[in-house]
């Protein structure tokens, strides 16, 4: 195995196009576990941690551009107000030591159905920026995530950034697992409330082949909420929760049964939208 350590994005893109089969390593928290266990062998490894351009974020108007190499620790410290849902999800990833190294770009590239950064990004309608020596393209995250550990990333491309809107209202993320730290989600849920366009978005993690939107539940909630006061009737909230559970496509596995996941998702959905609307009512009061 050869390790390349580019110091600039241009050098990283050149390395990527010269060695399309190369293993990219950002934080290494997914990649190194696979190398150690012998599941992954690569002739060439490209270490992205030296590329400063990837490790920053910026704001332009109402859009946040998060470099793929931004660690969870920095995201939590620096973007808690602008992207609260993503920051909440980041706080649940692994341990502080994993958060010191793990990156949002690595989570997106891994495309695990259990990736915790994915539900808030899907709910917010994030766009993935992909670059190669041929140029740059932008793909909505819903299209980028194709299936379990499968994405539209081409062998000559890098994820350079993730773009998402500054929060347009209350956001929530919740995750079910056997412990408060170091757990892969049994299931997870993100709620994103867009007050100006009077729209609720919901994304479900770990309960389907990839992160799923619950479109019917979103439509029902968006129509039933009284947007001037933030009120929502109990029956409508219950209907929303049931539709979220219906939208999941869970399986039975070592972490939980499909039936448990559906049940837990309904609970998470009811609570998360309830908390979001409470925050909205406080804001309009």
């Amino acid at each position: 195995m050869t390790v390349l350590r580019p110091a600039t994005l241009a050098a990283a893109l050149a390395a990527r196009s010269e060695h399309p089969g190369a293993l990219l390593v950002a934080g290494g928290t997914d990649a190194m576990v696979a190398i150690n266990s012998g599941r992954l062998r690569a002739e060439v490894t490209v270490d992205l941690t030296g590329v400063g351009e990837l490790a920053s974020w910026s704001r332009s108007g109402s859009t946040i551009r998060i470099g793929s190499g931004l660690t969870y620790t920095r995201l939590i410290a620096e973007l808690g107000d602008l992207c609260p849902g993503l920051a909440m999800a980041s706080r649940t990833v692994g341990s502080p030591q994993i958060r010191n190294r793990g990156t949002v770009g690595g989570n997106v590239a891994t495309a695990s159905p259990a990736g915790d950064a994915l539900p808030p990004l899907v709910a917010a309608g994030a766009v993935i920026e992909l670059a190669s020596t041929d140029g740059v393209r932008r793909v909505p995250i819903g299209a980028f995530l194709v299936g379990p550990k499968r994405s539209l990333l081409a062998p000559n491309e890098l994820i350079t950034a993730i773009e998402l809107p500054v929060a347009r209202g209350p956001q929530q993320f919740s995750k079910v697992g056997p412990r408060n730290a170091m757990v892969i989600a049994v299931c997870s849920l993100a709620v994103d409330v867009d007050v100006a366009s009077r729209r609720v978005a919901v994304a479900i993690g770990s309960a389907g082949p990839t992160t799923l939107r619950a479109l019917e539940a979103e439509a029902v909630a968006s129509a039933a909420i009284d947007w001037t006061t933030g009120a929502l009737g109990d029956a409508d909230l219950a209907r929303f929760a049931a539709l979220v559970a219906q939208a999941a496509r869970p399986i039975d596995d070592v972490r939980g049964t499909a039936a448990y996941r559906r049940h837990a998702l309904a609970v998470l959905a009811r609570r998360s939208l309830g908390w979001s609307l409470e925050a909205l009512r406080r804001a309009v009061a």
Binding site: R5, G28, M32, S95
Partner: protein
């Protein structure tokens, strides 16, 4: 193929010749000979291998040694001053935070990273900081107490 590189561990530059896929943990233990950091799982799960990289705690079992070039690495051996124990070490002993000792080097590294970043943590913050370190013996209480007592002592000294 082997790479020649230099790793700075506890303030000393060590030249090493290593394969690219070697983890920082295996190089520090077998090439450099510092066996304080332990291999519990080699899977980022247990925290026994924790080292400081530029002051931040990382699981060294899942860190490429070559990625650590140019960074300052601290292992448990770098925490004490010769035979003088670091206050965290003294308090771990005092509070029963050590039984078999296998988790201790990693616990101490995570705790010292916490106190660097947050000199007066709450109990919750201590538990979160140590959430990636598993202990099969102590039940954690003595460890958490030792960290809180150390924070108090350091604050009293600073005041």
């Amino acid at each position: 193929m082997k790479y020649s590189t230099t790793l700075n561990v506890n303030g000393i530059d060590y030249p090493v010749e290593i394969e690219a896929e070697r983890s920082l943990l295996s190089v520090v233990r077998t090439e450099i000979g510092l066996t304080g950091p332990k291999e519990g799982c080699d899977d980022s799960e247990c925290g026994a291998c924790m080292m400081l990289l530029d002051g931040k705690a990382v699981n060294s079992c899942s860190y490429l040694a070559l990625q650590a070039q140019g960074h300052k690495i601290t292992t448990i051996e770098g925490l004490s001053e010769g035979d003088d124990l670091h206050p965290l070490q003294a308090n771990f002993l005092e509070q029963g935070g050590v039984q078999c000792g296998f988790c201790t080097p990693g616990m101490l590294i995570s705790a010292s990273a916490l106190l660097q970043a947050n000199p007066s943590p709450t109990e919750d913050e201590v538990r979160i900081a140590l959430s990636g370190n598993l202990c099969r013996c102590t039940g954690y209480d003595g460890i958490v107490k030792a960290v809180l007592i150390t924070a108090g002592e350091l604050a009293a000294q600073g005041a």
